[in-house]
């Protein structure tokens, strides 16, 4: 019997997409488990005790001061452990903002406010580009549909970004880039929500792709 991959889904105070993320992971064949930020911070839990790691969406710590900064700061000594252990990581929406803020994509990358200056919740379409990202392996050239819901979702960067997906048609944030990966291809972030709805066939492709690589 095939063993289900252990997928840690991070819960920080203010996270609000953990349930649909776990439902989507489970449907895609994974074994999701909620891990609490404070348990990692207080060393009750090992962050690397998983096959894959997902930072889901929400408003961690109320987005106070800046999106993602609190989780990135509290876990500043921990994300590197996942990177060292070569655990594939996916940051969705607030998880994207968190992983970018934590510096996993190098200096010069940041998430900035939508051009409209306001939050936008609407359907979006994304074209998968050729890349070395494990989360979109085999999906190159496909157009995937899943919704966006964010206020600070524009990628900005000094250097070249490893772009994995770009928007097709209207962009919810005014930018072209929808998803990026790091140099290893194991860590990827996107602002839009492949877990909405939890059984979205396009979103399932991303979760399945990630799990098939470990």
């Amino acid at each position: 019997m095939k063993t289900r991959k252990k997928v840690s889904v991070l819960y920080a105070p203010g996270t609000n997409c953990e349930e649909e993320t776990m439902a989507a992971v489970e449907l895609a064949g994974g074994n999701p488990r909620l891990v609490f930020l404070w348990d990692i911070y207080h060393k009750k839990e090992r962050i690397t005790d998983c096959d894959l790691f997902i930072a889901p969406g929400g408003f961690s710590f109320g987005d106070h001061l800046e999106t993602g900064v609190s989780v990135a700061t509290f876990l500043e000594d921990y994300f590197g452990l996942l990177e060292e252990a070569k655990v594939p990581m996916l940051g969705i929406c607030n998880g994207d903002q968190t992983l970018v803020r934590s510096g996993l994509f190098g200096a010069g990358v940041a998430m900035i406010q939508n051009k409209s200056k306001v939050f936008r919740s609407r359907p979006s379409r994304h074209r998968v580009l050729p890349s070395h990202c494990v989360w979109t392996k085999g999906l190159e050239g496909r157009v995937l549909s899943f919704p966006s819901a964010h206020g600070y979702g524009r990628f900005t960067g000094d250097g070249d970004l490893n772009v994995v997906m770009e928007y097709v048609g209207a962009s919810p944030n005014g930018g072209k880039i929808a998803m990026i990966t790091d140099d290893s291809g194991l860590i990827a972030v996107l602002m839009d929500h492949p877990e909405r709805p939890y059984d979205n066939p396009d979103g399932q492709l991303i979760f399945k792709s990630g799990m098939s690589t470990v």
Binding site: E20, L65, V109, P197
Partner: protein
């Protein structure tokens, strides 16, 4: 103690907005540079020593929360600073604006301070001197003195109620009564909490009686808890609740609308033994956007445009962090809401059957106050909201303003379910209006008044220094929860609170004393042997609360409107102009600019959200969720309210709203017996004629409820729809919003709104209006109307039954109700959503609003069948869907681009246009 200001500027050449993080630090100032990378994103921001000189010369405005208000960001900042080794005791974030950025800046002095010079900050903490408890001998006061005293304290108690308090003083043999006792009864007997108008008119009896008579087997809990509960499938229940927050929204729209949503969500959390909110509902009616009917209000009250803008911002800022999808959202405008808006919010939820009904505290259970700290916000919310808005309450007293903190409330979403599933609580309640007496006091009250409650106010954690006893007792600080924790589960419950970062404080006990008791004693710590000591604030038998005198209510039947209104004849010569008037009307125009600011897909369960169509910009009449992962069972919501109808004929408008809500669901395929209803009345209870309308409306909807077999299971009445400004009174219309919540076993079978295919025919079924009175077109033309036609010409029970059978017949491709804007608006929306076109054989009949009728898309070859099989619901062919985009009326092709421009432009112009912003600045 020292205050340090860290200035953060965006990395751009000439920044004109600066963020300043103000930190209050105990003891010596440490090296703050360790915080810089946290407080400013190094990729986009930088920390600077001081404001650039050149910019500073141009003047500025620096805005921060005033001292009485805790900055919602404070807690996160303190935690982050501690992580970096800096001990911060208080924090506030301010923003400094220069140049054009100062234009249109909205500063509400009840909440904010705006500095135009360098701020001199002594502390960031709320300051205050604790008032001692006041005592009054009511027996010595004359009738006039009693009335004056009641108004002076903002208790808004009538003379008869004040006299009852005098009697209590005598019966309790007290030399004097405390301010805590007075405030406790003032709140408990306020219209907001006691609903005396409704009790006097015996309206509850009518509504509840109808629900009992129907005996719907889906009904689990109605009118007894924070929300109504309806059976779902497989051992689950669904809940819903809507309520208004009109007075706070008029005073401070952002805070008022935020806390509206926060309050209604707590009603779901804290219903029974706990539930999860899974959908939000939003509807706000603002006053007139151009002050045509009430020019005298200019400069006296906040503008409708400002209230509208702040509503959008608030609903987004509260609903999005909560992680609850927006299901339906709409804003309307009507002159009668210029003194007080109709700020209605709602939520639906899901729970397990075992936790669906109201819990009962056991003797010895611990009263635990959970969530935010208690402050001076929202004092007198219950009594002021029951007393009407005046210039004084509108601008004078900061203590009425509530600050919403969704971050804290969101923590309870998950924690609350864990508390439910571990069986830690005997009962739970929401901290809404009127603080502890309402939240804990009501929990302990049982039918024979044998239950009791004792509480030490000194144990309540405060966010403001120096709150008096009465302020601690009745504070309406938001994001607080009242839990009756089982003593044997106390440690487990406290561990769950801690796990989610929720502050929880035991403050009292549930007893069998039959008395409501509060005292203040700093020297008595919490224990299971709590006894009254120190300052005795209140010690009264629970039975006293039942003795609220009901004043005589005068009800006067209004004169029948005899005048007939002249509406224009609509033909080819003017149909385009009439169409433009309808689609460009504020109430029905494209409001996607607001709706897309609300997250409608979070939780991953949305089947049909608030918008649909290929451009995702047409408003849905029916929203649907799939509450359970892995199952296609559906929860549906519809809502109806049209102020223009209520202006013409409040009673028929109530019937229309109810039928509209019901047919929206039934036409989609929801069985009538699977729909539950909510009523939200908003009237001017001081007007005897409005009371007559209220009574007749309740009679009308209860009669319809019985005829259709659809019970009301939750509702709320606000009878304080009066604003007085500069001697001028403006009253809201006698109105009621009817909301329906239904269930369907397979959501995939729902008939949604979007047209499927060119060649299909649109058929209208149900009642047919011929008059324009109370319509959107009538409103656009400035003609109010004299009367509404009855839309009950077909027996409502028979009609709904036939409509349901039709929805299951396989003949129907899509369905949409005809309501505001008539058939014309539905055709426009159909074209916009599908990209197809439509050719109609009607012209004049496109504009009357047949509330209760439905527009059905039918395959051409099925039309005859439909007409033969369902003649009783009067099927009428409207026209045909065609491939090419546009609307053709009796062969005349209308300019669709022009219609689209009118539909798209109104909302933006009304709320964010030049005129809307200028009036605010002035």
């Amino acid at each position: 103690m020292s205050i340090h200001r860290i200035i953060v500027a965006p990395k751009k050449k000439r920044p004109d907005v600066f963020k300043i993080i103000n930190l209050e630090i105990d003891g010596e100032a440490p090296d703050l540079s360790v915080l810089y990378s946290v407080l400013a994103n190094p990729e986009t921001m930088r920390v600077i020593d001081r404001m650039p000189k050149k910019t500073a010369k141009r003047g500025f405005k620096e805005v921060m929360y005033n001292n009485a208000v805790i900055d919602p960001e404070q807690e996160s900042i303190i935690k982050l600073c501690a992580h970096k080794g800096v001990n911060v005791v208080a924090a506030k974030v301010s923003y400094r604006y220069y140049g054009k950025k100062m234009n249109g800046l909205y500063v509400n002095k009840l909440v904010h301070t705006a500095f135009t010079d360098e701020p001199i900050l002594e502390t960031l903490k709320p300051r205050g001197v604790r008032q001692s408890m006041q005592r009054y001998d009511l027996r010595s006061m004359s009738d006039q003195e009693l009335c004056d005293f009641s108004e002076k304290r903002e208790m808004h108690l009538s003379l008869s109620k004040m006299k009852k308090l005098v009697e209590f003083q005598e019966r309790l043999k007290l030399e004097s009564v405390t301010d805590v006792l007075l405030e406790t009864f003032a709140g408990s007997w306020s219209g907001h909490c006691f609903h005396d108008l409704w009790k006097s008119l015996e309206l509850f009896k009518l509504l509840k009686g109808a629900t009992e008579k129907i005996g719907n087997p889906n009904l689990i809990s109605a009118f007894v808890d924070n929300a109504g509960v309806w059976d779902f499938y497989d051992g689950l229940c669904i809940l819903f609740k809507l309520e208004t927050h009109n007075s706070p929204t008029q005073k401070e729209p952002y805070g008022g609308q935020m806390t509206k949503l926060g309050g209604v969500l707590r009603d779901i959390f804290e219903n029974g033994l706990g539930a999860k909110p899974i959908g939000n509902i939003e509807m706000t009616v603002i006053g007139e956007l151009e002050r045509l009917r009430h020019p005298e209000f200019t400069g006296k009250t906040l503008t409708a445009a400002l209230i509208g803008r702040e509503t959008v911002r608030a609903i987004a800022d509260y609903g999005n962090p909560m992680g609850i999808p927006m299901m339906l959202a709409r804003m309307m405008s009507h002159p009668n809401y210029s003194g007080k808006p109709f700020a209605l919010g709602g939520s639906v939820g899901v729970t397990i059957r075992e936790a669906a009904t109201k819990g009962k505290p056991r003797v010895g259970d611990i009263a635990v106050l959970v969530g935010g700290k208690t402050g001076n916000d929202g004092l007198h919310g219950a009594t002021v909201s029951s007393g009407g808005i005046t210039e004084k309450t509108d601008t004078g007293d900061a203590t009425h303003v509530q600050i919403g903190m969704p971050f804290i409330e969101q923590l309870m979403m998950r924690a609350g379910l864990e508390l439910r599933d571990t069986g830690c609580l005997s009962a739970r309640n929401d901290f809404g209006a009127h603080g502890i007496p309402s939240a804990f006091g009501e929990m302990a009250k049982n039918e024979d008044n044998s239950g009791g409650f004792i509480c030490n106010l000194a144990l309540v954690k405060l966010k403001c220094a120096g709150l008096a006893n009465w302020q601690i007792a009745i504070s309406e600080s938001q994001e607080r929860f009242a839990h009756a924790v089982k003593p044997e589960k106390y440690a487990e419950a406290m561990a769950i609170y801690a796990k989610y970062g929720l502050e929880a404080t035991p403050i009292g006990l549930f007893t069998d004393s039959g008395c409501f008791q509060m005292f203040y004693d700093k020297n008595q710590e919490f224990s299971l042997e709590m006894k009254m000591s120190g300052e005795i604030c209140i010690d009264v038998p629970y039975a006293f609360f039942d003795e609220c005198p009901l004043d005589m209510i005068e009800v006067v039947e209004p004169k029948i409107k005899l005048d007939t209104m002249a509406h224009p004849k609509i033909d080819q010569s003017n149909v385009m102009n009439m169409g433009l008037s309808v689609v460009g009307h504020f109430d029905v125009c494209n409001q996607a600019k607001a709706t897309t600011r609300y997250d409608s897909t979070v939780q991953g369960i949305t089947w049909q959200g608030p918008l649909y169509g290929s451009n995702y910009n047409v408003a849905s009449s029916l929203a649907a969720l799939r509450p359970v992962y892995g199952k296609n069972q559906g929860l549906t919501v519809s809502l109806s309210f049209s102020p223009w109808q209520f202006e013409v004929d409040p009673v028929r408008a109530a019937e229309n709203a109810m039928m509209d809500t019901l047919v929206t669901q039934v036409a989609a395929g929801v069985y009538p017996g699977d729909i539950a209803l909510a009523d939200n009345f908003y009237t001017d209870g001081d007007d005897p004629e409005a009371r007559w309308y209220l009574r007749e409306q309740v009679k009308a909807i209860t009669s319809l409820s019985i005829k259709t077999g659809t019970p009301f299971m939750v509702g709320k009445d606000s009878s304080s729809g009066r604003g007085t400004f500069g001697g001028k009174i403006v009253c809201v219309l006698p109105g009621v919003c009817i909301t329906g919540m239904g269930k369907i076993r397979n959501v995939q079978k729902l008939l949604l709104h979007q047209w499927k295919k060119p060649g299909n025919v649109l058929v209208c079924v149900g009642p047919q209006a011929t008059r324009l009175d109370g319509s959107i077109l009538s409103s656009a033309l400035g003609i109010s109307g004299a009367r509404l036609e009855s839309m009950l010409s077909i027996d409502p029970g028979f009609y709904l039954s036939q409509l349901f059978h039709l929805s299951q017949s396989g003949m129907i491709e899509s369905a949409v109700p005809i309501n505001r804007g008539g058939i014309f608006l539905r055709l426009f929306e159909g074209v916009e959503a599908s990209g197809f076109g439509f050719e109609t054989i009607l012209c004049q009949d496109l504009f009357p609003e047949s509330f209760g009728a439905v527009l059905l898309e039918v395959k051409r070859d099925a039309v005859g069948d439909l007409q033969r099989t369902f003649p009783g619901i009067k099927p009428r062919i409207i026209g045909t869907i065609v491939p090419r985009k546009g609307i053709t009326v009796q062969g005349n092709k209308l300019n669709f681009n022009l219609l689209r421009a009118a539909w798209n432009g109104t909302f933006q112009q009304a709320l964010w246009g030049k005129n809307a912003m200028e009036e605010m600045v002035a």
